[in-house]
C-alpha cells in the first residue's frame, strides 16, 4: 500500500488526533523548542520584550552552558539532586515493598490499613508541604515541642543545611511511599497463588519463595515504577519550594527548583532554560540507558 493511500484510508484517525496534536504542538513542543533557543541567549526580565516593547536580548552561543557547567553552584546542586533522588526513591521503594508484602496476606482490618496508608497520596501536595513546614516550625512546630517535652534540645530544622535536607526528604518520603505500595501490591496480587502452593509442596521455605518467586515476578512492575519514581522525584518542585524554598542558601535546592528560582526570583531566563535543558538531557539519557539495561535483563527469562 502506498504512503498516500495509507494516509487517505485513515483520514478519520488523523481527524480525531488533530485537536490533540495542535494543542500539544502549541503548549508543549513549540515552547520546548523555544526554551532550547532561549538557553542560547541572554534573555532576562528587562530585555525579553512585551506586547508594547520590542525584545532586545541577543544570541550568546554556548556561553550560558559554559558558565553553568563551570560554576561551583551547579555541581553542588547537582550532587544535592542526586542525594535527594536516590534517598527518596530508596525509601519509597523499601517502605512501599514492605507494606505491600504485609498487606498481601489475609489480615483482619486489611482494608482499613490500606485506606489509612493511602492518605498521604490523597492529600494535595501543597497542603502536605505546608503541613510539614508547620510541623518543622522551630518554635511552635510539633517536632521541637515533642523534643522539648522529652527534655532534648530543639533542632533548627529549616535553617540548618543538613537538617533542612532531612526535613524535605522526610516530607517527600511520607508523600511518595503510598504510590509505590499500591503499584507493588498490584504486582504481588497478580502472581498466581498456585506457584506458592506448588513450591510449598516442593518444600520451599518463605525466604526461598520470596527470592525465587516473588522477586523475579515482581521485577517488571518494580522496575517500571522505579523509573517513574526517579523521574518524578528528580523533577519534584512543589515539596522543596513549599517547605524550604530551597533554603538555607540553596542548600536544599535541586536542579528543578533552582531553575525556577533563577527564572522567577532572579529573572535570568537564559540561565534558567540552560538548567532546564540540562535536566531534560540528564533524564532522557538516563531513561534511555535504564530501558536498554531493562531489555537486556528481560532476555534471561
Amino acid at each position: 500500500m502506498s504512503l498516500w493511500k495509507n494516509i487517505r484510508r485513515h483520514r478519520l484517525a488523523y481527524l480525531l488526533i488533530l485537536p490533540t496534536a495542535v494543542v500539544m504542538a502549541t503548549i508543549v513542543f513549540y515552547p520546548l523548542i523555544r526554551g532550547v533557543l532561549i538557553s542560547f541567549t541572554n534573555m532576562n526580565q528587562y530585555n525579553m520584550g512585551s506586547r508594547f516593547v520590542p525584545a532586545s536580548y541577543r544570541f550568546v552561543g554556548l556561553n550560558n552552558y559554559l558558565r553553568v557547567l563551570a560554576s561551583r553552584e551547579f555541581w553542588d546542586i547537582f550532587i544535592q539532586t542526586i542525594i535527594w533522588t536516590v534517598t527518596n526513591v530508596f525509601f519509597h521503594f523499601t517502605i512501599g515493598l514492605g507494606l505491600a508484602l504485609l498487606l498481601n496476606r489475609r489480615l483482619k482490618g486489611r482494608a482499613v490499613y490500606r485506606t489509612l496508608l493511602l492518605v498521604p497520596w490523597a492529600v494535595p501536595t501543597y497542603i502536605s508541604a505546608f503541613s510539614w513546614r508547620w510541623l518543622f516550625n522551630s518554635k511552635y512546630g510539633f517536632f521541637n515541642l515533642a523534643l522539648k517535652a522529652l527534655g532534648a534540645d530543639p533542632i533548627p530544622w529549616l535553617s540548618h543545611e543538613i537538617w533542612a535536607m532531612v526535613a524535605v526528604i522526610a516530607t517527600n518520603v511520607w508523600l511518595g511511599f503510598p504510590f509505590m505500595m499500591v503499584v507493588l501490591l498490584g504486582g504481588l496480587q497478580s502472581i498466581p497463588k498456585e506457584m506458592y502452593e506448588a513450591s510449598e509442596v516442593d518444600g520451599c521455605g518463605p525466604l526461598r519463595q520470596f527470592r525465587s518467586i516473588t522477586l523475579p515476578l515482581l521485577k517488571p512492575v518494580a522496575l517500571t515504577a522505579t523509573l517513574l519514581g526517579i523521574i518524578w522525584t528528580f523533577n519534584m518542585f512543589n515539596v522543596i519550594y513549599l517547605v524550604t524554598e530551597g533554603g538555607p542558601h540553596h542548600q536544599t535546592d535541586i536542579l528543578a527548583t533552582f531553575a525556577f528560582i533563577e527564572a522567577f526570583h532572579q529573572w535570568r531566563f537564559g540561565i534558567a532554560t540552560t538548567y532546564a535543558v540540562i535536566i531534560l538531557s540528564i533524564l532522557l539519557s538516563f531513561s534511555f540507558f535504564y530501558i536498554r539495561a531493562l531489555r537486556g535483563s528481560e532476555e534471561i527469562y
Binding site: I7, H10, A13, I17, T20, A21, V23, V28, L32, R34, I38, S50, R51, I95, L102, R105, L107, K108, Y113, T115, L116, L118, P120, W121, A122, V123, P124, Y126, I127, S128, F130, S131, W132, W134, K139, Y140, F142, L145, P178, V183, Y196, E197, T224, I231, N235, F237, L242, E245, L255, A259, A263, F269, A272, T273, A276, I279, L280, L283, L284, S287
Partner: protein, 277 residues
C-alpha cells in the same frame, strides 16, 4: 495459602505506619481548632484546650470572602480543564486504539516522552508566550496549560480502556448503518464510562492541585487559585499558621474523601493502560 505467623507483629508495624501516615493531617486538624494563643504556645498539646471555630470564621470572612473567590477560581479552572481534556484525550485515544495509521507508534512514544519534561523547561517559554498574547492573569491560559499537562497520561489510560472493548460491537453497529463517528459516540463511549470517569478524575485533580503554573501566571490576588492563595498564609506573613490549618482542612477533607472513593478505579486505570502497549 500462606501460613499466618507473627500476626501481632504485623499488626503492630501496620498500626505504627498508619499513625505516621495520618499524623501530620491530625496535627493540622488539631491546630485548626485551637485559639491563636494555643497555636503559638511552647507547650506540646495534642488536642486543643478550648476548641474554637474562630480560625474557620476568620478564613471564610477575611478580605470580603477572598477564600470563596479562590475556591471559585480553582473549581472553574479544574472543571473546564476536565471537559477539554476529556474531549481531546477520548478522540485521540480512540484513533490510537482502533486505527493502524502512519505515525501511530511514533505518536504514542511522543506522549510518553512528553511526560518526562520537567515543568521547569516549559515554564519560561510558556510564561513568555502567555505574556506575549496577554494571557497572563487569565483563566484560558492556565486552563490550556493544565489540559495539555494532563493529556499524555489521559490518552495512554483511555487507549488502554478502549483496547479492552471488543471490536465486534462496533462492526455490528457499522453494519446497522451507523457512521464511524456515530459508533464511537453511541457504542464505544457509553461502554467506557469507568475509563472516562478515571480520566476526568485525573484531569480534575491535576488542575485542582497544581501550584507552579498558577503561581507564575496569576499575580492578581482575585485570580489566585487555592494553592497560590494558601501560600500567602505561609510565606507572606509567616505567622498565620492557624489560618493555614483551617483553610487546609476545608480544602483537604472533600478531596481526600473523593480520592479514597476513586483511587480503586485510578489504580485499575493505571494497570489497564500500562499492561496493553
Amino acid at each position: 495459602m500462606r501460613r499466618e505467623r507473627h500476626t501481632w507483629l504485623v499488626h503492630l508495624v501496620l498500626v505504627i505506619c498508619c499513625l505516621a501516615a495520618v499524623f501530620p493531617i491530625i496535627w493540622v486538624l488539631s491546630t485548626s481548632f485551637k485559639p491563636e494563643p494555643e497555636v503559638f504556645s511552647d507547650r506540646l498539646n495534642l488536642l486543643p484546650d478550648h476548641s474554637t471555630l474562630e480560625n474557620y470564621r476568620h478564613v471564610l470572612t477575611m478580605k470580603d470572602g477572598v477564600f470563596f473567590i479562590w475556591l471559585r477560581n480553582s473549581t472553574i479552572i479544574a472543571l473546564i480543564t476536565t471537559v477539554i481534556s476529556l474531549f481531546l484525550s477520548s478522540t485521540a485515544a480512540y484513533a490510537f486504539s482502533r486505527y493502524r495509521f502512519l505515525g501511530r507508534r511514533g505518536g504514542l512514544y511522543i506522549f510518553l516522552i512528553a511526560q518526562m519534561f520537567p515543568g521547569a523547561i516549559l515554564i519560561v517559554p510558556l510564561y513568555n508566550l502567555m505574556r506575549q498574547f496577554g494571557l497572563l492573569n487569565s483563566f484560558p491560559g492556565l486552563i490550556l496549560a493544565y489540559a495539555t499537562v494532563a493529556l499524555p497520561f489521559c490518552v495512554w489510560m483511555l487507549k488502554g480502556f478502549f483496547d479492552t472493548i471488543p471490536k465486534g460491537l462496533e462492526e455490528a453497529a457499522l453494519v446497522d448503518g451507523l457512521s464511524p463517528l456515530g459508533t464511537f459516540y453511541r457504542v464505544v463511549l457509553p461502554l467506557s464510562l469507568p475509563g472516562l470517569a478515571v480520566t476526568a478524575f485525573f484531569s480534575f485533580i491535576t488542575a485542582w492541585n497544581e501550584f507552579m503554573f498558577a503561581f507564575t501566571f496569576m499575580s492578581r490576588e482575585k485570580l489566585y487559585t487555592l494553592p497560590v492563595g494558601l501560600r500567602q498564609f505561609v510565606f507572606q506573613f509567616q505567622t498565620d499558621w492557624h489560618l493555614m490549618a483551617a483553610a487546609a482542612v476545608l480544602i483537604t477533607i472533600p478531596v481526600v474523601i473523593f480520592f479514597l472513593q476513586a483511587q480503586r478505579y485510578l489504580v485499575a486505570g493505571l494497570t489497564a493502560g500500562g499492561v496493553k502497549g
